[in-house]
């Protein structure tokens, strides 16, 4: 679980990738964009990968992150019944 203090940074990170859904970026690149240190970003990025918001296109040693769109189901089947 990400520490409470990191939540705003986690949200900031999410919004960065959401605003640039085709961006593929290294930790250094993200650190520069958000004006943060790598150490601050590491736990947040790991958490975002666990949550499925980001995907790591690189490997453990040189990760490269990209936004992963949520899953979309159109027309949920079945008739609705009144409560």
């Amino acid at each position: 679980m990400v520490q409470k203090e990191l939540l705003p940074l986690q949200m900031e990170c999410t919004m960065l990738f959401q605003s640039n859904p085709y961006m593929i970026e290294t930790i250094e690149g993200i650190a520069e964009k958000l004006d943060r240190t790598k150490e601050e970003l590491l736990p947040v990025l790991s958490q975002l990968v666990i949550q499925g918001i980001l995907q790591n296109l690189g490997d453990i040693n040189s990760p490269r992150y990209r936004y992963k769109e949520p899953s979309v189901i159109t027309q949920v089947d079945g008739d609705l019944k009144k409560a």
């Binding site: 409470k4 939540l7 949520p70 189901i73 949920v76 089947d77 019944k81």
Partner: protein
């Protein structure tokens, strides 16, 4: 050093004079604190001439401490000092030395011994020296014991006020922003000599605590020590959750855990500090030399504990406050992004991602309701343990099938629900001005400590999300509107007749749909379908893919060509109205449709057509003979006055006859539509007629009869 000395000096002087003694006071190391007072000749001679002899005795006396009862200390055989220890400030022990006294019958012997050592005859001095016996309960001993008792009481009172002073000082320090924990503990060590060390242990893991900071001497090796709940002396208060204090610790087997880390205190205390949101911290401290701490010192330990608790609380609250500010800043940024984006999909993604960030549960999703039909879409993230489609269906049934009253604000309050597979969720409706766009559903992480805070955040997020989604939806509709009317105007360029027919169809369909009380989006859908029905369904699908126009046109055209009423029963209301309007503009009749289906809608449409025709006829009369109408109306007015109606009802009936509808009558008379309706109903009752047409007819009949 004794600070408050005046009263003690007075006591010293009084006792010395009264009992012919000389009295001094030393600390427990033999250092003279209060100088000699009194006229005991033997004592004074030695004090003035052989101080080192007495000092040696004072120094040696510490070996006999620490009794609280007075005792006789022999200087030479037969010659004694009465020594009475008492508790002074900071828990220190002080000694009263009162003397010299001689045991009854030993005067000669004492004189001989003194003469031998200093070669002076002391007999006269000895004769003026107070005498004691060997019997217990010596009166002189009792007196000096009393003096020690008074001195203890004196310091106790001062200790109390002293504690308040210390307490005040510590509080001030804690409240000062720059004052740190180590400053407070270090200063406390300097000011209170009974304490030799302090330490702080913090929660390290679920079951273990770790010593993070130590202050004082002989305690450095403790830093980094880990211990569990209930382990040894130090772990015990974590179970009892209370201040604990131990004396003679070196004899307590539970002190092994401390001695393993090189700490061998004689007295020890622990104070579990309650922290904001249950993150416990432990303060401990003690003495390497005192097996027993004074009450005052123990109290001071407690005070120190509660003051540190306050300090931590302030620190925690400041931290919490900063976190809230950060979170609010994030919320502002997210809100700005949501209201500024024109992309419906992106707003939904923000809702899904941010709520997952926040709650860290197994999944989040947004269940979306299509605007013009009952279709439900689902956007989700995470790995639910069950079938998300099934849950989405439940959500839709709960939220979309029960119409929302705009006054029922509680409907927009998030509610806790459960998935079919038993996961707890929070459902936040995305709602604005009586219309629900969707529901943000967030599975709850049961380990989240700040659930209520997150609920508030999610509620705000969903309110802003709901408004943003509707704004984007409206923008998209406005774009579609423009496109529909452009395509319709294009028809005029190459087929004027078709253009006019479609325009009329759209007009009739719109008026009828309004009369039916259909919602605005449905009315627009029907009108647009009429306007664009000239185009092929493939073209409409390609040009306006996000709308239902193609479906309505295809379904409506099918209704125009079927031979059975079953299709009508199952068709959407949009398609039915479309078919009725198109049939009427083509044939100026709906007889063909009536033969296939005779449902309520067809009957209503016929009534609608009939009313429209009547209105047109009235318009034509009004246009052709204004003067005649005025003459007729004059005569009708007099007839109305003859009826048994109230003046207001007469006014209303007059306007009914002039062809005004209820709304127009309300505007004319400055009354509500509801009141007009009431008046009209009463008029019908009094005239014994079923409707307007009969009422008008009756008034004219009466006029002819009277004429």
């Amino acid at each position: 050093m004794i600070q408050r000395i005046e009263l003690l000096q007075e006591l010293q002087k009084s006792y010395a004079e009264k009992y012919n003694l000389s009295i001094i006071m030393t600390d427990d190391n033999g250092k003279i604190i209060l100088d000699r007072v009194g006229n005991n000749p033997l004592f004074n001679w030695f004090y003035d001439n052989k101080r080192e002899v007495l000092q040696e005795e004072f120094n040696r006396a510490k070996e006999k401490k620490v009794n609280t009862a007075p005792y006789l200390y022999d200087i030479w055989p037969g010659a004694y000092m009465i020594v009475a220890p008492f508790h002074g400030e900071n828990g220190h022990i002080y000694l009263i030395w009162a003397g010299i006294v001689i045991v009854e019958g030993t005067e000669q012997l004492v004189n001989e011994q003194l003469q031998e050592s200093v070669n002076i005859n002391f007999i006269e001095m000895i004769n003026n020296t107070p005498v004691i016996t060997h019997e217990p309960n010596q009166p002189l001993m009792k007196r000096i014991k009393r003096l020690a008792h008074l001195a203890t009481i004196y310091f106790k009172d001062h200790d109390k006020s002293d504690i308040y002073e210390i307490q005040k000082g510590l509080f001030r320090k804690v409240l000062e922003e720059r004052s740190q924990l180590n400053t407070i503990l270090e200063e406390s060590l300097q000011n209170n000599l009974e304490f030799d060390f302090f330490g702080i242990a913090k929660k390290h893991s679920d079951d273990h605590y770790k010593v993070t900071e130590v202050f004082g001497h002989g305690v450095k090796s403790m830093r980094g020590m880990t211990f569990s709940h209930g382990e040894g002396l130090i772990g015990r208060p974590l179970i009892t959750d209370k201040y604990e204090y131990w004396e003679n610790v070196e004899k307590d087997p539970r002190s092994v855990s401390l001695s393993r880390y090189g700490l061998k205190p004689k007295s020890f205390f622990c104070y579990p500090l309650k922290r904001y949101q249950d993150s416990s911290t432990l303060l401990f401290g003690g003495s390497h030399s005192n097996s027993k701490m004074s009450t005052r010192c123990r109290e001071l330990g407690k005070i120190l504990g509660s003051i540190l608790e306050t300090g931590f609380l302030i620190e925690d609250l400041q931290k919490e406050n900063q976190q809230q500010i950060n979170r609010l800043t994030s919320m502002v940024e997210i809100s700005k992004l949501m209201v500024s984006t024109h992309d419906f999909k992106r707003i939904v993604y923000i809702l899904v991602d941010i709520s997952l960030n926040l709650m860290e549960g197994p999944f989040t999703c947004v269940v979306l309701k299509e605007q013009h039909n009952d279709s439900v879409n689902l956007v989700s993230r995470g790995n639910p343990n069950g079938n998300l489609r099934e849950y989405a269906k439940n959500v839709a049934e709960r939220h979309f099938l029960n119409p929302v009253n705009t006054q029922q604000f509680e409907i927009i309050t998030p509610k806790f629900e459960e998935t079919p597979w038993g996961e707890r969720t929070l459902e936040c409706p995305l709602w604005n001005r009586g219309r629900i766009v969707g529901v943000l559903c967030v599975a709850i992480n049961e380990q989240q400590a700040k659930l209520q805070e997150h609920v508030n955040f999610l509620q705000t997020l969903s309110v802003i999300g709901g408004v943003s989604l509707q704004i984007v939806e409206q923008e998209e509709e406005e774009l579609d509107d423009k496109l529909v009317y452009s395509l319709f105007r294009a028809i005029k360029q190459f087929d004027q007749d078709v253009y006019s027919i479609l325009e009329e169809a759209a007009k009739i369909a719109k008026e009828f749909a309004e009369m039916q009380g259909l919602p605005v989006p449905v009315i627009n859908e029907i009108t647009h379908s009429c306007l664009l029905s000239y185009y092929s369904s493939a073209f409409i699908q390609e040009t306006l893919p996000e709308t239902r126009l193609r479906t309505v046109i295809d379904e409506g055209n099918t209704l125009l060509n079927v031979n059975k009423g079953d299709s009508w029963e199952s068709a959407s209301i949009s398609a039915q109205v479309f078919a009725l309007a198109m049939a009427y503009v083509k044939d100026q009749s709906i007889n063909k449709l009536e033969k296939v289906y005779d449902g309520r809608l067809i009957k209503d449409f016929k009534s609608f057509l009939y009313e429209t025709q009547v209105l047109e006829e009235k318009v034509s009369i009004a246009e052709t003979s204004v003067s005649i109408q005025e003459q007729v109306l004059d005569t009708v007015t007099s007839t109305i006055q003859e009826l048994k109606l109230s003046p207001r009802e007469q006014e209303v009936l007059d306007l009914v006859i002039q062809g005004y509808n209820n709304k127009e009558i309300a505007q004319q008379l400055y009354i509500s539509g509801h009141t007009v309706k009431n008046h009209v109903t009463k008029i019908f009752q009094k005239l014994e007629v079923p409707d307007r047409a009969h009422a008008i007819s009756k008034v004219y009949r009466l006029k002819h009869q009277s004429g």
